[in-house]
Amino acid sequence: MSPPAARPGADAAVAIEFCGLTLAHPVINGSGTFDAIAARRAFGAALVRDFPFAAFVSKTITLAPRAGNPAPRLWETAGGLINSIGLPNKGLDGYLAEDLPQLAELLGARADAAEGPVPLITNVMGSSAQEFSALVTACDERAEIAAIELNVSCPNVATGLDIGADPRQLAQVVGACRTATRKPLIVKLTPNTADVPACALAAQEGGADAVSLINTLRAMALAPGAGGERGPWLGGGTGGLSGPAIRAVALAQVSAVAARVAIPVVGMGGVQRVAHARDLLDAGATLVAVGTETFRDPVAAMRIAEDLRAQS
């Protein structure tokens, strides 16, 4: 894993069409696993010049600001990471007012101007169809946003289950969002349910342009100590498992979904090397997203995109 050369350009061999967007290669980031604004503070101009992702997915934005969960938020487990971040974000208005201009500038200032700006995909979550469509309506008005991803792994206040786990509710939510925008709509499915392909079909029927999966698997860790009085380690109680441990589960769900839907699929879950990306693409994904591996190597996505190009 030696330092990679310049990022792959819009090379015929890997350049890819996705929901009407042209991407330099098929590797993007998983929502919530890369903060381009913070990364620019850490890495300066190099981040802009060598931006590793073919499109940038924002972390999940909600209507109201959220502080996120108390510490600790991380637990390292066999072949994976459990996180309980709690979707901290500035809220819709803060995002649109403060982050969006910075992101637009950052993503537009990439090395190879010919390629145009790196498309920005804004990921949003509501607790109801109304909230979702309010979020989408606001994003629809902003030219800086190329596409919208719906994070439907949000508990239904009534049932406590993920909205995305229930095909009926899901189709309603997506339908409401569809009427609110012509921008590409990507539905980020929840993996914590019995029939993921049925949910993917519901998203498609609701008007989604693509689906993305998998989100993290529900998991937990107990605080070190002894006896019944041991509580959960994570400040948020339970958390979500990501990384190599979920790779084989992701491949099964991506393959099952790709076999059932007509719209493109963004596959993710435990991608660390080109072989893992290859598996997801061969299973029917159009794009792959890298999440946790970016924490280990900030240019992992670039490395994988280059290895994909070398193969093709």
Binding site: T33, A42, G44, A67, A71, E76, I85, G243, F295, D297
Partner: protein, 275 residues
């Protein structure tokens, strides 16, 4: 003194070569050949992972890289102070000359120089003394500042770590070396003697909280180098959050690790170094 400059980190993990791992009482000093790294700001850190056998330990850990203060820079070398507290630090302590080390950094917001005509009091607990070593170098490079060093340790084996800095007053919990008692007792004396001081502190959460409280009541400016479990080190995962004054959280990796005491209501349990 003007701010200490902080250059951005190279946007790539660099594969560095280990020069040696030296014993320092209960601690280890990891020395790596490191030419290109930009001069770090004192208090900045790096994310480290062994190039070989990172993972595959008990429960397949370590998996993610680990954060370590840059303890010292020498021409072409970076030094890190290690305490073996788990699989990651254990693996790093096992490194031998010639082994490969993945390093990302320098990262985070480091210390800033003291206000004019203020002395500097460095307060370090346990392995938390690491960033104070490079800080002492910087302060003394900038001549004029009068530097006082107060270091606290659990026992004698750990107190050997004090030789990483010079001119230190030492306190130990077990009284085996120096003052038998708390570091804050030494700090209190110093502030009584002359409170026109900038305090720099790094160590276990309870110690940092005691320092913060003491400095706040005595109205002494304090910069605290915090710790938190980290996955990335560059603001990507939001895992390193610690509560800030007035609600909400700061990310230790990008808003810190050095945070001004005034920005905190308190130093929470998970925001400090291993004792």
């Amino acid at each position: 003194m003007s701010e200490w400059a902080a250059a951005p980190a190279p946007f790539v993990r660099r594969l560095l070569t280990v020069l040696g791992v030296d014993e320092l009482g209960a601690y280890r000093v990891l020395r790596v050949a490191d030419v290109e790294t930009p001069e770090p700001q004192p208090g900045q850190f790096a994310m480290l992972a062994a190039a070989e056998r990172w993972g595959g330990g008990e429960d397949e850990r370590p998996y993610l890289p680990r954060a370590f203060s840059i303890a010292r820079r020498r021409i072409g070398e970076s030094h890190f102070l290690l305490e073996d507290v788990g699989p990651g630090t254990r693996r790093l302590c096992e490194l031998r000359e010639g082994d490969g080390l993945w390093a990302l950094g320098p990262l985070g917001k480091g210390f800033s120089p003291p206000p004019p005509r203020h002395r500097a009091i460095l307060v370090g607990g346990g392995v938390g003394i690491a960033p104070l070593a490079i800080l002492q170098d910087a302060l003394e490079a900038g001549a004029e500042t009068d530097v006082t060093v107060l270091l606290g340790f659990r026992d004698g084996a750990r107190a050997r770590g004090s030789s990483l800095l010079h001119g230190a007053q030492v306190a130990t919990d077990d009284g085996s070396v120096g003052h038998h008692g708390l570091l804050t007792e030494l700090l209190s004396k110093e502030l009584y003697r002359d409170s026109r001081a900038q305090v720099y502190a790094c160590g276990p959460a309870p110690m940092l909280e005691a320092v913060r409280a003491m400095c706040t009541t005595r109205d002494v400016p304090a910069q605290l180098a915090l710790e938190a479990g980290m996955a990335c080190g560059f603001g990507a995962c939001y895992g390193c959050a610690v509560p800030k004054r007035g609600g909400g959280y700061v990310r230790v990796c990008v808003d810190g690790p050095v945070i001004d005491a005034s920005e905190l209501e308190g130093v929470s349990e998970h925001a400090g170094a291993a004792a």
